[in-house]
C-alpha cells in the first residue's frame, strides 16, 4: 500500500502547481494608482478602425469622438453648436457656409489647426482610395464631392480656404440638416503630416487629433487606453485617462461592472428586469431615450394586399403595443406612436399614433375584402435570426394578428446578412421587423430617408405626393420652427398611411457607479468624456 506521506506530498505538489499557475495570489488589482483617475467603460467589439473618415459603427465613434473634433458638434440638447468653428454664416440662398475657426486649437503634436487642415481632411474622406462607405452620405452634398468619389477630381470644388482661419463650404441645394451631418466623424479634422508619416498604420502609430484625449495604447481585441490632452481647447479633461476594455460578451460586461471592474455599462435586455428589481443596482440605473424606432415594414412592392391602406391600418390597430412594451419587452423600451423618437428635434409628444382598436381593425379588414381574415393570402414576416428580442416581438405580433384578425401569418428567421441584402432589394421580403437609428439628430434623417419617394431606404413602395412635397419643403427651409412644423405635418400623414407599423422607441438602460459624475448621455449615446469625473 502507498503511504500516507505520499498522498500528502502529491496534494502539496498540486497546491504548489496551482499557485504557480495562478501567479501566486489572488486579489483583484484592477484599480490604477490612486493619484491617477481612470474612467473604465467597455466597448462591445474591437473598433474596426480609428480613422474617422471611414468609420461606420458606434464602437469606433465612441473612441474617435474623444480623440478628434470637427467644425461643429452636438450639445447635450442635441443642438448643433460650434466646436473648432467658433461661428459660421450661411448665405441667403442657404447653400454657402462660411466657417470662422477658433484661434486656440492645436493638434496633439502641438501644431495649430488651420482651414487648410479641414480642406485636406474632407477631401481625404472623399478620396476613393480610402474606400469610405460613409463619406457619400455625410459629405456627398458638397459641390464637387461626387467627382472626388468617382475619381474624376482630387479636390471638391465646393471646399475653399478663404484664409488660414476661414473655410467656405458650398452644397448643391439648401439643406438645413447639412450642419448636423458635419458632426459625424467624416467631418473630423486629421493632420496631413501625421497621416502621411504613419502610412497604413497611422491610426496606431500617429493618431493625432485635437480632441480631449490622446491615444496611449491600442491593444487589439483587448483594450484602448486614452490619456488626457492637457491643452484641450474646451478645457482639460477631469480624468487622467479612459480605459476602454473590449468585452464582446454582454454577460461578462455585467459581471465586470458588478465586480467593480467597470464604471459604466449598458444593461442588456436580458438583465433589465433583474437590475430594476435589485435594490442596489436599481439606484445606479439611468434611463435615457435612444434615437431609434423599431417597426414592422409592410411592403406593398411584394405583397399586393398592402397596397390597400385599410389592410395596413388594420394591421397597425390590431396590435396591442402597450402590452408589447410592458409584457413582452418588460419596459426596456417605450411605446411608439409616431416616427420621430423622443429627444429628436421635431418629436411630437402628442403624436399617439393609430389607437389599438380590434373592432375597427376587423371592420377595416372586412371592407378590404377579407372578413375574419378569409381569403387573405399567405404572409410571412421576416426577422433577423439569433436576436431574442426580435423573435419575441415577432411571435407576439403573430399571436395578435391571429387572435384579433384571424390571420395566420408565418414567421421566418433569417441570417442577418441575408436578411439585410434581401430587404435592401425591396422586391423580396413582404413584411419584416427592423429598427432605424439616427445618424444625426435631424428629422430629415428619419422622415425623408425612410418615406420620401426615391430614397434608397424607402423600401415598401410608399409614395404619397403630399408627403413628398412637405418633406422637400422641410428639408430646404432654414427657419427651425417652420421646418419642424412641416415635418410634423408629414409625420401625421405617414402615421395614418401606415407604410410601416411603429412599435417602440429605443431606450438606453445605463448602469453607472455612484462615484462617476459628468457623463452626458444623449439619444445618440454619450458625448465625449472630457467632463467625466471620478469622485472616489
Amino acid at each position: 500500500m502507498i503511504r500516507k506521506g505520499q498522498i500528502v506530498a502529491a496534494l502539496g505538489l498540486l497546491l504548489v502547481f496551482a499557485l504557480v499557475v495562478t501567479g501566486c495570489g489572488g486579489g483583484q488589482k484592477a484599480a490604477a494608482p490612486a493619484s491617477k483617475t481612470v474612467f473604465r467603460f467597455p466597448l462591445s467589439a474591437e473598433p474596426p478602425t480609428l480613422d474617422p473618415a471611414i468609420m461606420v459603427d458606434g464602437v469606433s465613434i465612441t473612441v474617435a469622438q474623444n480623440v478628434f473634433d470637427g467644425l461643429v458638434q452636438f450639445n447635450e440638447k442635441s443642438e448643433v453648436v460650434g466646436a473648432i468653428a467658433k461661428s459660421w454664416d450661411i448665405s441667403p440662398d442657404g447653400k454657402t457656409y462660411t466657417f470662422h475657426l477658433r484661434d486656440d486649437v492645436t493638434f496633439h503634436n502641438g501644431r495649430k489647426v488651420t482651414a487648410e487642415d479641414f480642406k485636406y481632411s474632407l477631401n481625404r474622406a472623399l478620396n476613393p482610395a480610402l474606400k469610405s462607405t460613409v463619406a457619400p452620405l455625410y459629405l456627398g452634398d458638397i459641390v464637387g464631392a461626387k467627382d472626388v468619389i468617382d475619381g474624376k477630381a482630387t479636390e471638391a470644388s465646393g471646399i475653399k480656404v478663404l484664409d488660414s482661419k476661414t473655410l467656405q463650404i458650398t452644397i448643391d441645394a439648401p439643406k438645413a440638416y447639412f450642419l448636423a451631418k458635419l458632426t459625424y466623424p467624416t467631418g473630423f479634422v486629421v493632420t496631413k503630416e501625421e497621416v502621411e508619416k504613419g502610412g497604413d498604420k497611422w491610426t496606431e502609430t500617429n493618431l493625432i487629433g485635437t480632441g480631449p484625449f490622446k491615444l496611449k495604447q491600442w491593444l487589439h481585441n483587448s483594450k484602448v487606453i486614452l490619456e488626457a490632452n492637457d491643452k484641450y481647447f474646451q478645457g482639460r479633461p477631469k480624468v487622467d485617462s479612459i480605459e476602454f476594455s473590449i468585452v464582446t460578451s454582454e454577460a461578462t460586461q455585467m459581471s465586470m461592472y458588478e465586480n467593480g471592474e467597470l464604471d459604466m455599462v449598458y444593461v442588456p435586455a436580458s438583465d433589465i428586469k433583474r437590475v430594476m428589481d435589485d435594490p442596489k443596482l436599481s439606484k445606479e440605473l439611468t434611463i435615457v431615450p435612444h434615437a431609434s424606432i423599431q417597426y414592422m415594414a409592410l411592403n406593398a412592392n411584394v405583397f399586393p394586399p398592402f397596397k390597400d391602406i385599410r389592410v395596413r391600418q388594420a394591421f397597425n390597430q390590431a396590435i396591442n403595443k402597450d402590452d408589447l412594451v410592458k409584457v413582452v419587452l418588460q419596459d426596456s423600451v417605450v411605446k411608439a406612436g409616431g416616427i420621430l423618437p423622443p429627444g429628436m428635434p421635431g418629436y411630437n409628444p402628442d403624436q399617439k399614433g393609430l389607437p389599438f382598436d380590434v373592432d375597427k381593425a376587423k371592420k377595416l379588414l372586412t371592407e378590404a375584402g377579407y372578413p375574419d381574415g378569409k381569403g387573405f393570402p399567405e404572409l410571412t414576416i421576416y426577422i433577423r435570426a439569433g436576436n431574442a428580442t426580435y423573435k419575441k416581438i415577432g411571435e407576439y405580433i403573430q399571436g395578435q394578428l391571429l387572435k384579433n384578425l384571424g390571420l395566420k401569418v408565418q414567421l421566418q428567421e433569417q441570417e442577418w446578412g441575408k436578411f439585410l441584402a434581401d430587404v435592401k432589394k425591396k422586391t423580396v421580403v413582404p413584411a419584416y421587423l427592423l429598427a432605424w437609428g439616427a445618424d444625426y439628430m435631424d428629422p430629415q434623417n428619419f422622415l425623408s430617408i425612410l418615406f420620401r419617394d426615391g430614397s434608397p431606404n424607402n423600401r415598401t413602395g410608399y409614395n404619397n405626393p403630399q408627403v413628398n412635397d412637405l418633406l422637400d419643403k422641410a428639408d430646404t427651409t432654414s427657419d427651425p420652427a417652420t421646418r419642424m412644423k412641416l415635418y410634423q405635418q408629414a409625420e401625421n400623414i405617414i402615421v395614418s398611411d401606415v407604410p410601416l407599423v411603429p412599435l417602440d422607441y429605443g431606450r438606453d438602460n445605463i448602469l453607472m457607479k455612484p462615484y462617476v459624475k459628468g457623463v452626458v448621455n444623449t439619444p445618440m449615446g454619450p458625448l465625449p468624456f472630457h467632463k467625466v469625473q471620478i469622485q472616489k
Binding site: 500500500m1 495562478t22 474606400k131 461578462t252
Partner: protein
Amino acid sequence: MERVGLVSMTNYILRRLLIAIPTILAISLITFIAGYLSPSDPITIMLGDKGDPATVERVKHEYGLDKPLWEQYLSSVWNALHGNLGLSFFYRGWPIADMFKQGLPITARLGLTAALLGVSLGIILGVVSAIKRGTWVDKLAMFISLLGISIPSFVLAPILIIILAMNLHLVPVAGWGKPENYVLPALVLAARPLSLIARITRSSMLDVIRQDYIRTARAKGLGERVVIYKHALKNALIPVLTVTGMTLGDLLTGSFIVETIFNVPGIGRASITSIYQRDYPVIQATTLMYAVTFVMMNLIVDLLYTLVDPRIRYS
C-alpha cells in the same frame, strides 16, 4: 536509435507531411466555397441598414469581391503561399499576419497553461483514485471528473465567475495582461482534458496493477513507490498519451468560447468574430492555421508513441 529505425522514421514523417498537403488544400477550398455560398457579403454586414446599394457595389468592386470566384480563390492561395495572408476586410488595414502575431502567442500561452494543468492534475487525480480504489477519495475524484466532462465550458465559465470572482473576489471576472487573468480561463479550458485524463489514468492504472510483472516486482521486494511510479505508471501512460493528444484539440476549439467569455485577445476570439463579420480573408487564414495545427499535433502524438512504447514501429 538504430540507423534503419531513423531512416524509416524520417520516411514516415515525410510521407505524413506530404499527405497533409492535399488535406490542407481541401480544407482551404471548402472554407472558401462555404464562405461564398453563404448568402450576403461582408460589405452589406459592415454597413448594416445604412449605405445605399451604389456604395455597396462600389466598395465590393474596390475589394475585388466582384471578381470570379476561382480568381479570388487562386489569388488568395497564391498570396498565402508567398506568406502574404492579406488584410482584414472588417478591421480596415489590419494585416492578418499582425493579427496572428498578437493573438497566437496569447492563445498558445493560455492553451499551454491549461494543458499543463489538465495533464498534471489529471494524472495525479487518476493515480490517487486508482491507489485508493473504492474509498471516498476515489469516489470524490471520479465525481469531480464526471462533472468536468459533462459540464460544457459555457456553463462552467459563468459558475466559476460567480463563485471565484464575484463572491470570493479572488480573481477578476475578465481581462488580460496580469497573471491572475489566467486562472479562470485556464481552469475552464483544462476542466475537460483534466477529467478525461483522470479517468483514463485510473482505469489504465488498475489494469496495469493487475499484470503479472507488477506482482513480480512486488514479489521481488521492491518498495511500493518504485512499483507504482516506475513500473506501473510508465506503462499505464500509453493510453493516457492518446487521450492527451486528442484533448489538445479540445484546447484549441475550447479557446473560441473561453476567449470570448473571458475577454482574452487571442486568436480564438478573433476567428469567432471574423465569422460573424464575414471577414473572408481572416476566416480563411484562421481555418488554415487551425488545420495545420491539428495535422501537426496528430503527427507529434503518433511520434510520441514510439518513445513511450518501443514496440510500436512506423513503416
